[in-house]
């Protein structure tokens, strides 16, 4: 006897209910993840936004022989403690660079001390009542203001929070990643090509394969130890340098690039290889003319994701000495340098509110670059993607 629609519907009810339940659960999981993301980014923006602003004071600056000897004499006594010491220290150099300044008194905007900065931003500060009285008056007549903090993007780390910036860490990151890319990309892609297209399937290659997969799961700090032992101790490369840091991160990125490249190569249909062999391509021509172009989007995506991972890495760099106080931006891969996440780590350890702001701002910069890198990966994939 066959079942009526009502019988079937009665049984279906439970099944539909389960579908709905699963749908709500998955939507709930997504909502939870999205909430965390929004809270995290919102918090970072709230904390980091003030770092993009810096208090400046409009004061008369006297360029005289006395102020060249004792820079403090360049500004009036009541604002001496309000002006950044870093700015005052730089005054003799400014005067040496521009002789026409001598003997003049110029009304100009001057970077304020970090305590003034905090006071203007409404945070707690260590200013004395007498100083706050002066400052209140200046705020009132518009000679103390928050301005866009260009220094944050143009200077390196500093012991004076108002002068601490992200530039040297950014340069360090760029140089380090260039080394990583130059090392890990060709080595990784060629290794994957060999394993996928040339290597015989025997115990030896299987062992290599298993080891590469395991390597991807090794804690990153161990790569730091490896880098220290090989690059610094054995090869004698300069410590703290992007060269050593980049090679160390390269070792770490290598398995990621090999694995993603292999899966990209494997996704090229065998019919294409057969077609190429069929018209008399040598193995290398098959790889170069057909397999690699088709797998390029996958290879690039994997490499960029591997690089992004390397960019966010701090632990192995502690060991090779790249988590350090580096005020000057490196210009060569052998100079001492630090990287963005290491800079964030350093600032996070400082007690001053100005450094706390900079920590969050540094995270925002790092996240923006990571998002840009991932967007680049998506765009490259779109651009090179070909259908077959």
């Amino acid at each position: 006897m066959s079942h009526s629609f009502d019988d079937i519907s009665a049984q279906l009810k439970g099944r539909h209910r389960r579908t709905k339940r699963l749908k709500f659960m998955s939507m709930g999981a997504l909502a939870l993840a999205a909430t965390f993301l929004v809270v995290f980014i919102g918090d970072m923006v709230m904390r980091g936004y003030p770092a993009f602003q810096q208090a400046e004071l409009h004061v008369p600056v006297t360029y005289s022989e006395q102020s060249q000897e004792i820079p403090l004499a360049a500004v009036e006594e009541d604002v001496r403690d309000l002006v950044s010491r870093g700015w005052l220290r730089q005054l003799p150099r400014d005067m040496a660079a521009d002789a026409s300044l001598m003997g003049q008194t110029i009304d100009r905007w001057v970077i304020a001390d970090d305590q003034v900065d905090q006071y203007l931003k409404g945070h707690k500060s260590h200013l004395k009542p007498k100083q706050t009285a002066v400052l209140d008056r200046m705020i009132e007549n518009g000679t103390a203001e928050l301005k866009f903090n260009i220094n944050f993007f143009t200077t390196g780390d500093s012991k004076l929070p108002e002068y601490a910036g992200i530039w040297s860490a950014a340069m360090g990151t760029i140089l380090t990643l260039l080394v990583t890319l130059a090392f890990a990309f060709p080595v990784g892609v060629l290794t994957a090509v060999y394993l996928e297209e040339f290597a015989p399937d025997n115990r030896f290659t299987q062992a290599i394969e298993i080891n590469i997969n395991n390597l991807a799961a090794v804690p990153s700090i161990l790569f730091g130890l490896l880098g220290l032992a090989i690059f610094i101790n054995f090869f004698g490369m300069p410590r703290s340098s992007p060269l050593v840091g980049g090679l160390t991160l390269g070792l770490m990125t290598l398995p990621v690039i090999i694995i993603t490249t292999r899966s990209a190569l494997r996704s090229v249909p065998d019919t294409i290889r057969q077609a190429a062999f069929g018209v008399g391509c040598s193995r290398w021509q098959v790889v170069r003319d057909h397999v690699l172009p088709l797998s390029l989007p996958g290879i690039l995506t994997g490499s960029i994701i591997g690089l992004a991972q390397a960019m966010g890495e701090t632990a192995p760099l502690i060991i090779v000495g790249m988590v350090a106080f580096i005020p000057d931006a490196p210009t060569a891969i052998t100079q001492a340098a630090t990287v963005l996440p290491a800079q964030i780590f350093t600032w996070a350890g400082e007690p001053e509110q100005a450094y706390v702001e900079r920590t969050a701002a540094g995270i925002l910069v790092l996240l923006s670059v990571l998002i840009l890198l991932n967007a680049a990966a998506v765009m490259l994939r779109k651009k090179f993607e070909r259908r077959w």
Partner: protein
């Protein structure tokens, strides 16, 4: 030696095992490929057993037989495509132009330049129609000047009967064509390097009847220039296009005969049973 071929009916023509039982007197009888005592194993499993066969120049030779009988495996022996499969072991002689193609000093790339291949599923390169044709001849240094390439692309496409359909869209991807057009593009790609032999591995099995008929006509035309060896599941196709037909069963060559004789009066019981549809 345990020959799989019955005693020759015409001793004068078929002096060796592997010659077809009946020779078509009108056909060209110069040898393109001579296969002697060919054995092939996939690991432990023997897929081809003592195959002896003479492939004649400028003829269509069809390989028929039930699935898994070894006909495609045999076809791939002729241009060493089996090299790509790791567990394969081959013994015996495949001779072309006086040389053993499996010999150490034979470069498989050179062999494939003279023995082209068309596959079951159309597999044009993900390049333009033009580049699909021009790629291999350029690689083999047959042409280098743009004008020569243009001529070659046109003549290959004309020979493949595709020129009129694609002459205005040469820069479009080869994969944008219909299945039948793609297969003819693959044939044009194969003939562009001017091979001696073209192997076709069930070239019409993925195509509709009209495209199939077009390809069959094409094979008939192409055999004036090339030796064609084709594998087919479709016995009518073998009867229509082939001059000689080889019937494979369980890795053995059961009968190799003039096509007319094969389909009207086969020498072996197995071939007769297969052709009349009793199994397979």
């Amino acid at each position: 030696m345990n020959s799989t071929v019955a005693t020759p009916a015409k001793p004068a023509a078929a002096t060796r095992p592997g010659s077809p039982v009946v020779i078509n007197e009108d056909a060209n009888h110069e040898l393109a490929i001579r296969v002697e005592d060919l054995n092939l194993w996939y690991g432990e499993k023997q897929a081809l057993k003592n195959i002896n066969i003479d492939v004649f120049q400028k003829n269509v030779t069809a390989l028929i037989g039930p699935s898994g009988c070894g006909k495609s495996t045999f076809l791939r022996c002729l241009n060493r495509m089996n090299d790509l499969i790791r567990s394969v072991r081959i013994e015996g002689l495949v001779e072309m132009d006086g040389r053993d193609v499996n010999a150490r000093n034979m470069d498989e790339v050179a062999l494939r330049r003279r023995v082209g291949m068309v596959f079951q599923k159309p597999n044009p390169f993900p390049k333009s129609i033009y580049d699909n044709i021009a790629y291999a001849p350029t690689m083999h240094d047959l042409v280098s000047r743009r004008a020569d390439k243009d001529d070659l692309v046109e003549s290959a496409l004309r020979d493949a009967g595709l020129w009129e359909e694609v002459k205005d869209i040469l820069d479009q991807p080869g994969t944008s064509l219909s299945g039948g057009q793609q297969q003819r593009l693959c044939i044009a790609r194969a003939i562009a390097v001017k091979p001696d032999v073209i192997l076709m591995d069930e070239p019409t099995s993925a195509l509709d009847p009209i495209s199939t008929a077009t390809i069959e006509d094409l094979m008939d035309k192409l055999k004036t220039q090339f030796s064609i060896v084709t594998v087919t599941h479709n016995m009518q196709q073998a009867a229509r296009v082939a001059d000689y037909t080889a019937f494979f069963h369980m890795g053995e060559l059961v009968e190799y005969n003039d096509t007319k004789t094969m389909f009207s009066n086969p020498n072996t019981k197995k071939a007769e049973d297969y052709i009349t549809g009793r199994y397979g």
